[in-house]
Amino acid sequence: MSLWAVLAVNSITLGGLLFLLSAGFSLIFGLMKIPNLTHGSFFMLGAYFATSLIARGFNFWAAALVGGLLVAAFGGIIERLILRRLAGAELAQVLVTLGLSFMIADVCLMVWTGDPIRIDTPAGLRGATSLLGMGFPTYRLAISLIAVIFAAGLWALLDRTRLGAMIRAGVDDPAMARVVGIRVSRLFTVVFCLGAWLAGFAGVIGGPILSVYPGLDQEMLPLALVVVILGGSGSLLGSLVGSLIVGFLYNFGQAMFPELAYVVLFLPMLIVLVVRPQGLFGRQAL
């Protein structure tokens, strides 16, 4: 019985990480129509930056924030220098982001070598917390909590602030948003950096569980894709529900059908595509 509880907690933890990763992906995709295939690389890059920062004496949380910021700055450069030139050319964006992800993966391999690097669980969150008479790893509970806080924060940002209103206007109708005086171009950079920051941050806080290794990017990217296809692009609620579904499917799938974990993961996505191509919470067709 407690095996199921542990699996459930692991699923929620992975779901939380995936939410942080895919919320940015979904926003970028919904607002800018950019299929950002470097998003998995941002996740990995954040984690690698953090390992170097921690090795230089940073504390875990500072490393998570700064690592995320470095990734955000890097994302901003990519957006401004490369993606900006290709506005509207979706195919070109797919290819460029894919090309960039190969380059980033190779540079990471060069700098941080091929060995997996473990990020230590921050002090204070080690060990187990007992909940409902069962012991759960404290750090995993903490990640779930962080994800909930971020979900609430992002929702408040999008739904309650002026910036959020501008972003929503940009998602719905960029041309009209421009007409009423919103600088959609600057908005693009802000959202891209925000998405990159979330991905980088998720990479760092996922570090103690997943550790960092070459190929992490290619493992996370399809998961983010599935989340967005499941939940619908540009929808925060869609990302949240999609992440949890994927988190559960991945963990339970691996425990019950280890050889078919990937199939179990993608099957619901295919069903959703057939029944509801725009995703569970998406408004327009992909």
């Binding site: 979706e90 070109a92 290819l95 460029v96 190969f102 380059m103 290619q218 990937y262 295919l270 595509l273």
Partner: protein
């Protein structure tokens, strides 16, 4: 003029093993040919139909894995080839039904996901695919009693398949079907209004594309006598797409030139630099940013301009 050029090119290709010294280069030429077949197949979708696929290595790999499994079960060459292609086409039918739920970006995303499923099965379903270790076959088959074991003979066999592929592509491009495929790319609504079944045209284009990808996968298996999850990774799909885009999509020569460029770069570059993936990514970015139309149309444009002056 054009016919003459084709005959000269064919003559050069056919006699290549005679004037190129060393089996190393003959082997590279064989690789160029079967990757060119793959790229031609991808080009049907990505170029002519405007449906960019990042999952075609999955189909390429399914053909290779199916052939390896059938061969290791002890069947003869004919059953291996037909069996593998039938399996590939059936998989392609499923892929197409799912992927054609979307167009544009939706299509790209779904093909990525489908390709990753195939990769996941190849990597994790160890009892079926032997996981990361891959499947080895013992010896190349000898169709019609001709042995393909020497590099030169394998090259010639590949060349014959390649010529059939190119001719089929030329017929496809000139045919009413080819025109309707391009019509669904440029004006799907008008095509629909004119009474064409847009979905069915795309579906058939997908199968045609998958067929040649499967043939290329089969040749890949014969060439390497080994297939592993690496053949179906996202990188492999991206490489195929790079061949098409780099050479020039929706042209006949483009994918062939692109395949030549990528295979030669890969073999030459990997001899000098370890960081092949970095180079691949950089070429990708450079081509998209600076020469979006591809090498063949780009060079043709420059040549026209030079002649005009």
């Amino acid at each position: 003029m054009r016919r003459l050029a084709a005959i000269v090119a064919l003559a050069i290709l056919a006699t290549l093993p005679l004037w190129v010294s060393g089996t190393y280069y003959v082997n590279i030429a064989s690789q160029v040919l079967f990757y060119a077949i793959f790229a031609l197949g991808v080009n049907v979708l990505a170029g002519h139909a405007g449906l960019v696929t990042l999952g075609h290595a999955g189909l390429f790999g399914i053909a290779a894995y199916a052939a390896a499994k059938i061969m290791n079960a002890g069947y003869g060459h004919l059953s291996v080839a037909t069996g593998a292609l039938v399996v590939t086409l059936m998989a392609a039918g499923i892929f197409a039904v799912l992927a054609l739920r979307g167009t544009g970006l939706g299509f790209v995303m779904i093909t990525v996901a489908l390709g990753q499923i195939v990769w996941g099965v190849a990597y994790r379903w160890i009892s079926l695919t032997n996981g990361d270790n891959g499947i080895t076959i013992t010896g190349r088959p000898s169709p019609l009693g001709l042995s393909l074991t020497t590099p030169t003979r394998f090259y010639w066999a590949t060349l014959i398949v390649f010529v059939v592929a190119v001719v089929s592509m030329a017929i496809f491009v000139a045919s009413p079907f080819g025109a309707s495929v391009r019509g669904t790319r440029d004006q799907p609504r008008r095509m629909n209004a004119l009474g064409y079944h847009v979905w069915m045209i795309r579906f058939l284009a997908f199968l045609f594309s998958a067929f040649w990808s499967g043939v290329a996968g089969l040749l890949y298996l014969y060439y390497n006598q080994f297939v592993s999850p690496q053949a179906v990774a996202l990188t492999a799909s991206a490489e195929a797409l790079l061949m098409v885009i780099a050479g020039g999509s929706a042209t006949l020569l483009g994918p062939i030139a692109g395949a030549g460029l990528v295979v030669v770069m890969k073999n030459v570059a990997s001899a000098y630099i370890e960081r092949w993936n970095f180079v691949l990514g950089a070429i990708f970015v450079a081509i998209v940013v600076f020469m979006a139309e591809g090498l063949v149309p780009g060079v043709a444009r420059l040549a026209r301009r030079a002649r005009g002056r």
